[in-house]
């Protein structure tokens, strides 16, 4: 050891048996040694071998030791630590990888109020958005995605999980739609005219139109009407009739059976039914959906043809192929990614908002079959539609068509967290309460607590089940902060805070 250097060498051994109180004792002693050293001026080549000093149970001994030694006034002592030199934290500045995009998505209005020639209580606007999905750091998010509640005009053979919601209305589309609006708070109805399928009940276009008329009279929210029997001729015949009876209501006409030739030569005319569909929408002022599952060029062909037929660009939605998890959902995700890439670089054939039908998950047995090794059937069904909806939302879907009320409430809850609306109704508040009706708050049900909170008669603190985080969610939604709050403390210690 050099004569010039003063050095304090402390070896720290691990020994678990020593309780931490003793460790601290020992540590205090060490600090005293350091202080003593300060007093010894001109001391050279001091070497303390302290093999016997065992510190255990106190937070990082080296760090404490170093801090203690530095606390001593004499620079000589501070220098004397032989522990490996602490690296400095490197400097780094994260630059937001922001891009600019020349294209953006259209905004499509659905529904028409009295002033606009319809009878809806309000209209909805979907679409917009000028960045890839969820890229809020570089531009405006699209309008809050709308969830249209799916109603069938005849019982599609609802599984048990869904009968809980619709068992009493499954044979009556008018009552079904009314229940969705009045009881489940639907802001939009998507009516599937499955009874018109020529391979099934084969109801006539006129009959179907009557149902649409009746639904329009029963509920005052914007409407979509869907024919997807696989028979293009019949579907278009039905939708033409529907367009007529719904004139002025600005409904969405969804045709799920548009067939394009396998190889489409440039400039080739499409099947006459396709133009009839477009013209019906144009004539009666409705919105169309261009549906070509996982077929981007096909979507562009339809969009161009529709616009050439006179359907305005802001009266078109795209369904890129609404498949469920496990059934090529990745191809739908890729199709949506590709549509976004094209739309944002300015390709006008792809700038129409995206409609996705997570409800299609219920076509598959994973959602409803009792298979023991697949886990709880009811929860699995919820999770399947919900997961499909997430894949769609994360890929930028602007309008979701959903069936399971549990999944719908969960997605609305998720959207509340993304869009931070000010919550003003019991129904909206209720989806952020536990929903277990445990009565610990003194109210008979969560709904009553929600009502009292909204009226200012109770505080959400009354809820015994919501933790601090849950209460923060409710408070933020009752009076959303502006600008939005991101407090690192929220997750600073998830390791300990999970129940």
């Amino acid at each position: 050891m050099s004569e010039e250097k003063k050095k304090l060498k402390v070896k720290l051994k691990k020994k678990e048996e020593v309780p931490s109180a003793e460790g601290e004792e020992l540590f205090k002693l060490l600090s005293k040694i350091a202080k003593l050293l300060d007093g010894v001026e001109g001391l050279k080549g001091v070497e303390i071998e302290a093999d016997e000093i065992i510190i255990e149970g106190v937070t990082p001994p080296l760090e404490l030791l170093s801090a203690a030694l530095q606390a001593a006034p004499a620079p000589a002592a501070a220098e004397a630590v032989a522990a490996p030199p602490k690296p400095e934290l490197e400097a780094f500045k994260f630059e937001k990888p922001v891009r600019s995009y020349v294209g953006k998505f259209e905004e499509v209005k659905i529904g028409a109020t009295k002033e606009e020639g319809g009878t809806r209580a309000f209209t909805l606007t979907v679409g917009g958005g000028e960045t890839p999905a969820m890229h809020a750091f570089e531009g405006q998010l699209p309008h809050r995605p709308v969830i249209a509640h799916l109603v069938f005009d005849e019982d599609p053979g609802l599984p048990e999980t869904l009968l809980k919601y619709y068992g009493d209305v499954k044979d009556d589309p008018v009552a079904w739609a009314r229940k969705c609006v009045e009881e489940f708070g639907a802001k939009m109805i998507f009516l599937d005219l499955r009874s018109t399928d020529p391979h099934g009940t084969n109801r006539s276009a006129e009959d179907a139109a009557k149902t649409v008329k009746a639904v329009l009279e029963a509920v005052n929210v914007p409407l979509a009407v869907c024919a997807r029997s696989g028979d293009m001729k019949k579907d278009v015949e039905v939708l033409k009739k529907v367009a007529e009876v719904a004139a002025g209501e600005n409904i969405v006409l969804y045709c799920g059976s548009i067939t394009l030739p396998a190889i489409l030569a440039a400039g080739e005319a499409l099947a006459e039914e396709i133009y009839e569909y477009f013209r019906a929408a144009k004539e009666y002022g409705h919105v169309i959906v261009t549906y070509q599952p996982l077929n981007l060029p096909g979507i562009a062909v339809l969009n161009k043809a529709a616009m050439e037929t006179g359907v305005p660009k802001n009266k078109i939605l795209i369904d890129p192929g609404s498949v469920a998890i496990g059934y090529a959902v990745e191809m739908a995700v890729s199709a949506m990614d590709a549509i976004y890439n094209k739309a944002l670089i300015g390709d006008e054939s792809y700038q129409m908002p995206l409609l996705y039908i997570p409800a299609n998950a219920w076509m598959y047995r994973e959602c409803y079959d009792d298979v023991e090794e697949w886990g709880d059937t009811e929860q699995r069904g919820h999770a399947w539609e919900l997961g499909t909806a997430m894949a769609a939302l994360m890929s930028g879907a602007h309008l979701l068509v959903m069936l399971d009320q549990y999944a719908i409430e969960a997605v609305e809850n998720f959207l509340d967290r993304l869009y931070m609306p000010k919550i003003e109704s019991v129904r909206e508040l209720l989806r952020h309460l536990p929903g277990s009706n445990c009565k610990a708050c003194g109210f008979e049900a969560c709904r009553e607590l929600a009502d009292a909170v909204l009226k200012g008669e109770a505080d959400v603190d009354k809820c015994q089940r919501l933790g601090d985080a849950g209460k923060r969610v409710v408070r933020r939604l009752l009076s959303p902060p502006s600008p939005p709050a991101v407090e690192p403390e929220e997750v600073a210690n998830w390791i300990k805070e999970l129940p």
């Binding site: 696989g230 998890i325 059934y327 590709a338 699995r380 929903g435 985080a469 709050a485 999970l498």
Partner: protein, 476 residues
Amino acid sequence: MAEKGKEVRASPMELMKHLPGEDCGECGFDTCFEFALAIFDRRKRYDECTKLNDAQKKALAKLLAPPMREVVLGVGEHARRIGGEEVMTREELGFFGKTVIAYDVWDTMSEERLRDRLKEIHEIKAVKVKEAFGVDAIAVRNVSDDPKKFKETVKIVAEQTDLPLILCSFNPKALRAAVEIVKDKRPLLYAATKDNWADVLEIAKKYDVPVAIFSPNDLDTLGAIAKTFAKNGVEDLVLDPGTFTEPGSLLQTFCNLIMLRRACVEDRVKEVSYPTMAVPATITTTVGDRKKAAQFETMLANALITKGINLVILHYPNTWGFFPMVMLRESIFKHPKAEEKVDPGIYEFNEPDELSPVLVTTNYTMTYGVVSSELERIKVPCWLLVVDTGGLSLDTVAGTGEWPDMLEEAVEEFKVAEKVKHRILIVGQVVAEYKEDMEEVLPDWKIIIGPKDSTEIGPFLKEKWKELLKESGIEV
């Protein structure tokens, strides 16, 4: 140095220069060039060529190195490789660092409860066609803050599982105590923070284990810690910018993860070019009801998986949520060019017997997917013969004229004649023009042209099948 802007990937021709060029065929391709194409779009890894010398390996490793570092968690057959991403959306090339799905245990559980929970976690399985998927990793949380307790818990966990472990504590003393127990198993240390990074760095260096860096909503510090670790030789890093789930903060969670990904794959910001992770379990603290909490973390995990996040930690182990989550992950991380094929063969639907119809389709994933799901839905017992068309759809094959031979080969190879008594094959309408050719190569069989659309299969079979059997002399 970090260079901005998208970098051009090495071309297959450039890669070719570093391959043996012997066309030995051992990799499964006929030529080295085909192998070069496969490693170019990452259907294969370069080390699947067994004849590379060290110089070639080195050159290829360099040319093919993805911008995002690959990090291996765990050892042996359960090890998981995460990261290695190159693109923002899967349609550009594909996602590669399959999301590791981990569930947690903690050190304030009784030993009995701990063992029960571990058992529960290991029993979760999702079965997809022939493959079974289980939970990928176990996160052990140091709730007690007591190093001794943590160490004991990790010891029990390590005895019960071969899965990769994630040691969760911000207390370096606890991390050090625990890592000592499992130092040979490449656990992930979670986490280095702005407060403890120096000590965690030391531990990671000493034990050579991967480390997660946790810097909630502070990407400057996240990058600074990562940069410091890299400079000190610890480069197996995973980035956690915090999983905020509340109104106003949930969106920021996605933004942070997306920004990190883009800074890595597009802007090549070396300091943050590591796999990313999130903890969907954090949403469970906002819900106040167990079942709802379980649904919500599954929901959030699915959102994160769609965005290609490499590791997620969850809190409510259950099969009903794990199943769709794994199905989504397997889909999102499937190679886009590999997804066009399913295994040819004869598949059973709804317990068919020797009098059940045989439908024919191709091994193009989409066709197969659409047809098979329809068959499941209509619940009519039948056989589905999946013909090897090299992953092409029926429409595409119809144009080549090779269809009849392909069909004949499949009927032969999969011994369809042994499965059924009748001799009727139902094929799609797009190959109707080959009816005669098919009957020529399959003289014992009657070819029936089926419906055009899969949704018509049900009605078609219900209306026609008995009649067809009768026509061929079989009474039901």
